[in-house]
């Protein structure tokens, strides 16, 4: 025998249904059937009364007759959808109007289903069960998602400070601030420093994602000479790159375009592109960074010596946790979040981020941001 569908085990007893019909006999029959299933029912005999009761009982589903004196079912549905928007309950029409046009109108008004009278009780119950399940699952999903964002944000916040301290203290020990270390002690401290560094980065990226997901990405834009930010990032990253005998060079650019951006966020994007380039290029590579200046957009491009982006993995590139098959060449860590964050930051600026494989090898990431108007 086939396994029952997953939704069959969902308990829907006590879910609230608002039933609306101006014909009291119809109303009694329908509510009787629904009550036998354990639903909680409120009844209305007109569109106006339905709207009042909706506000009071916030039902999980509305079963709505179409032809009623006063505002009809279609209009009632439109008002509910307009008022409660994304949080509004699914509306199922139940009516004697069975022309194809009527059905289409019902869906246009925002209904999720359309039942015609005379109805078959089993069909009504089955359809209502399906819509209630969907509604319940969406409700639970959005609650769980909000909880996840809160949890991530909280974790990241509370983990950051201690991690900064651990990393900083290890670094200070390594610099003999509290006395000289022997070779073995130095190795241990170096390991602590490296491990806390990659953990801090992971936490920072998780926090970024949580912030962005929760819709808290606020940009503090100011006119910024983009070349200054890029040059600074090239300079700082060269220190780390030297460990892989890799050089990051600025290509000759015509000018230093000034654009309206959140400089901390854009700094994060260029940093990320450069560290990725270093990470995925073989030792002793040259990474080229150049400024882009076009009539309506300006930005920067980072060209690496890595393996390029395989065509069949391209769709994963800017997705969260979308790690590709290519691995860092110096044992570095990757969270799979960096480029997803870059994309969100760039798009929040109204810009674009893209990547092209070079003809010979490696690829070039380009960020284009709208110019000042």
């Amino acid at each position: 025998m086939d396994e029952p569908p997953l939704t069959a085990s969902i308990d829907l007893k006590g879910r609230r249904i608002l039933v609306v019909d101006d014909d009291r006999i119809n109303l009694r029959i329908i509510t009787g059937i629904l009550r036998s299933e354990g639903y909680e029912i409120s009844e209305a005999v007109s569109g106006e009364q339905a709207l009042e009761l909706y506000a009071e009982s916030r039902p999980n589903l509305v079963l709505l007759d179409v032809m009623m004196p006063g505002i009809d079912g279609f209009e009632t549905c439109r008002i509910i959808k307009r008022t409660y928007k994304a949080t509004s309950a699914p509306v199922v029409f139940i009516t004697a109007k069975s022309e194809a046009d009527d059905v289409v109108m019902g869906f246009d008004a925002g209904g999720v289903d359309y039942l015609t009278k005379p109805f078959r009780p089993k069909e009504v119950l089955a359809r209502i069960r399906t819509h209630l399940c969907n509604q319940l699952l969406v409700e639970q999903l959005s609650k769980a998602n909000a909880a996840k964002d809160r949890f991530l944000g909280m974790c990241a916040h509370d983990l950051r400070n201690p991690l900064s301290s651990i990393r900083g203290l290890a670094e200070l020990m390594n610099e003999n601030t509290i006395g000289p270390l022997n070779q073995e002690q130095r190795e241990v401290v170096h390991t602590i420093q490296g491990a806390s560094q990659s953990m801090l980065q992971l936490v920072n990226e998780l926090l970024d994602v949580a912030t962005i997901e929760a819709g808290y990405l606020k940009l503090a834009k100011e006119p910024t000479p983009i070349g200054d930010i890029v040059e600074r990032s090239v300079h700082l990253n060269n220190i780390e790159a030297a460990k892989k005998d890799t050089r990051i060079v600025m290509a000759e650019g015509p000018e230093n375009p000034v654009i309206n951006v959140d400089r901390n966020k854009i700094r994060q994007v260029i940093d990320n592109l450069i560290t990725n380039a270093v990470k995925y290029s073989p030792r002793s590579s040259v990474i080229t960074v150049k400024l882009l200046s076009e009539p309506t957009v300006a930005g920067f491009a980072v060209r690496d010596d890595g393996p390029g982006i395989p065509e069949d993995e391209r769709h994963l590139l800017f997705k969260e946790y979308g790690r590709l098959s290519s691995r860092p060449t110096g044992g570095e860590k990757s969270t799979g979040l960096g480029l997803a964050i870059c994309r969100k930051i760039v798009e929040a600026h109204g810009g674009t981020i893209g990547v092209l494989n070079n003809a010979d090898r490696g690829c070039e990431f380009a960020v284009r941001l709208p110019r000042l108007r």
């Binding site: 400070n161 201690p162 991690l163 301290s165 200070l172 601030t177 509290i178 926090l207």
Partner: protein, 137 residues
């Protein structure tokens, strides 16, 4: 860094105080006072009159911004650098409106922390110290 003045370090988290004070020592500063909350910071400030205050933003009881306002009430010219764990534009703007000289991210690279410190000292602290006839050692 060639600076013989005194610094008051305020943070409610002991590990941060340990870390920043070691870092300050590493940068060549010897004259460091510590306080673990805003109230204690005001007491130490009144008593020691440090040349520079490094002030955490997020603290219980009296938070960084409130402490900054009190410090400025005691000495409108005192030099304060805010210590932040995140760059929150709003907090930074607020602190700068109340007269903070600069801010430092606790997880910034050492060079960056050192640079911000020396820039702030050069721009705000040294002129005051030479006015008072102290001068850098």
């Amino acid at each position: 860094m060639n600076f013989s003045g005194s610094i008051l370090l305020v943070d409610d988290e002991a590990h941060i105080r340990k870390f920043i004070s070691l870092l300050l020592r590493h940068l060549g500063m010897r004259n460091i006072f510590e306080a673990k909350n805003g109230v204690e910071a005001l007491e130490v400030f009144q008593r020691e009159r440090p040349d520079l205050v490094m002030l955490d933003v997020n603290m219980p009881v009296l938070d960084g911004i409130q402490t900054l306002r009190e410090l400025k009430r005691i000495d409108p010219d005192c030099v304060v650098i805010m210590l932040t764990s995140l760059v929150n534009r709003q907090t930074i703007d607020e602190a700068s409106a109340y007269g903070a000289a600069n801010y430092i991210r606790k997880d910034a690279p050492f060079e960056e922390i050192g640079r911000t410190l020396s820039e702030t000292i050069e721009e705000f602290v040294e002129p005051r110290r030479s006015d008072k006839g102290g001068g850098a050692g």
